[in-house]
């Protein structure tokens, strides 16, 4: 026994050292994870403090309120145009294509109704955003999608897994909200490079107020991802490793920090800016969701810190 121990003492020693290192690494890892979670919380609090210090102007707030009013007017116009701008031929075309889809996929009636509403608004919203251009060119000017936008009914086929997932989602979709994407603050900023400015819509409205249907309990991020995919709007996000939350880096090739250090995408629900990420906010039916580009930490889009 002694002899065996003497012969193999290096092996035993190595084994013990490796086990000790692994144990230490395991405990250190869990500790750091917990502490990092703590850091996340405290950093978000720090963020609010910074916002509180920087938000002082009230005039901009008023101007933003007036902006909201104008956007409401736009939405009224939109609803009028929906009624007018659907010629009988196109509606017949849409209906026939929808019949084909329902025959192919044997989807329930609610599915076709939802798509019909989406399709109708697709055309009308694009007419709002760029009245001069035709529907297809204005869509392609933002983002050239893999699916050809020549026929609206062909917008539905998608890469295999996702199309399956979405068709499943649409069967149970029973809520709807209104979403809009706006970057008019970026267009007024001098720091925006001319390359990016060229591809943004001239009025800054990337997506006019659009009704979108979703599954109950969907987050604001999921709704944004869905609508961006449907309309062929570019959107890039990154996932935060520990919390699994999504962070919107850029929409329509307009990225964070494109207009200076304090610029980026923010979102509001019914005019209020939640203090959590867009994938942690559950949207309820009838909410008004807006993704807005800020050049000054939310000060220029009405996100003033109230003190709570």
């Amino acid at each position: 026994m002694k002899k065996w121990f003497a012969e193999n003492k290096f092996r035993i020693l190595f084994g013990i050292i490796i086990a000790a290192v692994l144990t230490a690494a395991f405990f250190a890892g869990t500790k750091s994870e917990m502490s990092e979670k703590g850091v996340v919380v405290s950093s978000s609090e720090d963020y609010h403090v910074i916002v509180e210090n920087s938000s002082k102007d009230d005039e901009t707030h008023i101007s933003d309120l007036s902006n909201e009013e104008t956007s409401a007017e736009v939405s009224e116009h939109e609803s009028k145009i929906i009624e007018i701008s659907l010629p009988p031929e196109s509606s017949e075309k849409v209906l026939s294509s929808l019949n084909e889809i329902s025959l192919e996929e044997s989807a329930p009636v609610s599915f076709t109704e939802n798509t019909a509403s989406i399709l109708a608004e697709d055309e009308s919203s694009l007419e709002i955003s760029e009245n001069e251009n035709s529907v297809e060119t204005s869509e392609e000017s933002l983002f050239v999608t893999p699916e050809s936008s020549a026929d609206k009914s062909e917008n539905i086929p998608l890469p295999s897994e996702i199309s399956e997932e979405m068709s499943l989602g649409q069967e149970t979709e029973n809520s709807s909200c209104i979403i809009s994407i706006d970057c008019s603050t970026a267009l007024k900023n001098d720091k925006l490079s001319s390359k990016v400015k060229r591809i943004l819509p001239p009025d800054g409205i990337i997506l006019a107020e659009t009704e979108v249907s979703f599954e109950d309990g969907a987050s604001a991020f999921e709704i944004l991802r869905k609508i961006c995919r449907e309309k062929g709007i570019h959107m890039e996000f990154s996932t935060i490793p520990l919390t699994g939350g999504a962070y919107i880096e850029g929409i329509a090739n307009l990225y964070e920090f494109d207009c200076g250090n304090l610029s980026g995408w923010m979102f509001s629900i019914n005019g209020e800016f939640p203090s959590v990420g867009c994938s942690d906010v559950k949207v309820s039916s009838g909410d008004k969701l807006a993704f807005l580009y800020t050049c000054n930490m939310g000060d220029d889009i009405g996100n003033h810190f109230s003190g709570n």
């Binding site: 050239v144 995919r229 890039e236 090739n253």
Partner: protein, 296 residues
Amino acid sequence: METGFKMFHPAAQLLFFVSVISVTMFVMHPVITGISFIASVLWILCDGGICALLRNLKFTAVTSAMIIIINPLISHNGMTAITYFPDGNPLTLESVYFGIAAAVMISCTLKWFYSFNRNFTSDKIICLFGRIMPKPALLISMTLGFIEKFKTKMNSVSEVQKIFDCYSGENSLIRRIKSAVRIFSVMIQWSLENSIDTADSMKSRGYGLQKRTAYTLYRFLPRDGFMVAITVVCDLVIIAAVFCGALEYSYYPYFLLDSQGIVTMAAYAVFALLCTAPLIVNILEEIKWKSIRSKI
């Protein structure tokens, strides 16, 4: 015996390499990158033969492939979506273009540095910096020399150790670790002893008694002046083209290459001339040599 471009004055060579490498690195114009890539491949082929080219390609191909694969995975900027990743981010054509361009750019920068290393031996460093900063130049050249010496010595020591292992008959892991540790300790002892020897030797020959002078074989001839002038003119033309917007390019958010003017063409031609200057020198010398030999 060095021939062709390698016989030029080190200052002319340094200026050439600095200008080519910096234009390649800072102007990521697709055409410029392509010209630089072709010229670097041809120059390594001319300078070191097919073996050197293959060794270099083996080294750079891995880096390039990694960049080409990874860039579309982490960068989703761009207007043209090819398809979507499962998480919802788009795979864009622009990011693929940018990945290819960056891979080619880095690979040809590495090629130019590789040929710079082959060309720039320690005597050229001493020639260039021996007057201006004698001690750092000496230090650099001694360090570069020491690396080669260390490699040779390490090979011979490890061969001896291998023979010892063969005699002992045992080939366990611990035995091999012991052998490696022994080689390491031998090398440490040798290098310390070598440095003391070098110091003694330098002192006995009078190092540090007077200001250091450097001896070089290289003289600045008219052809070196011509080479420097050509390089400077090419650099100025390219810099002017960049600043007047003739070499405009864009990868994000859309791929753009809308420069077809005469200035752009001139810039392409001038950069091609600059990159292939050593190749032209070598070919001209070869032709001269052939023509002289045929007369005999």
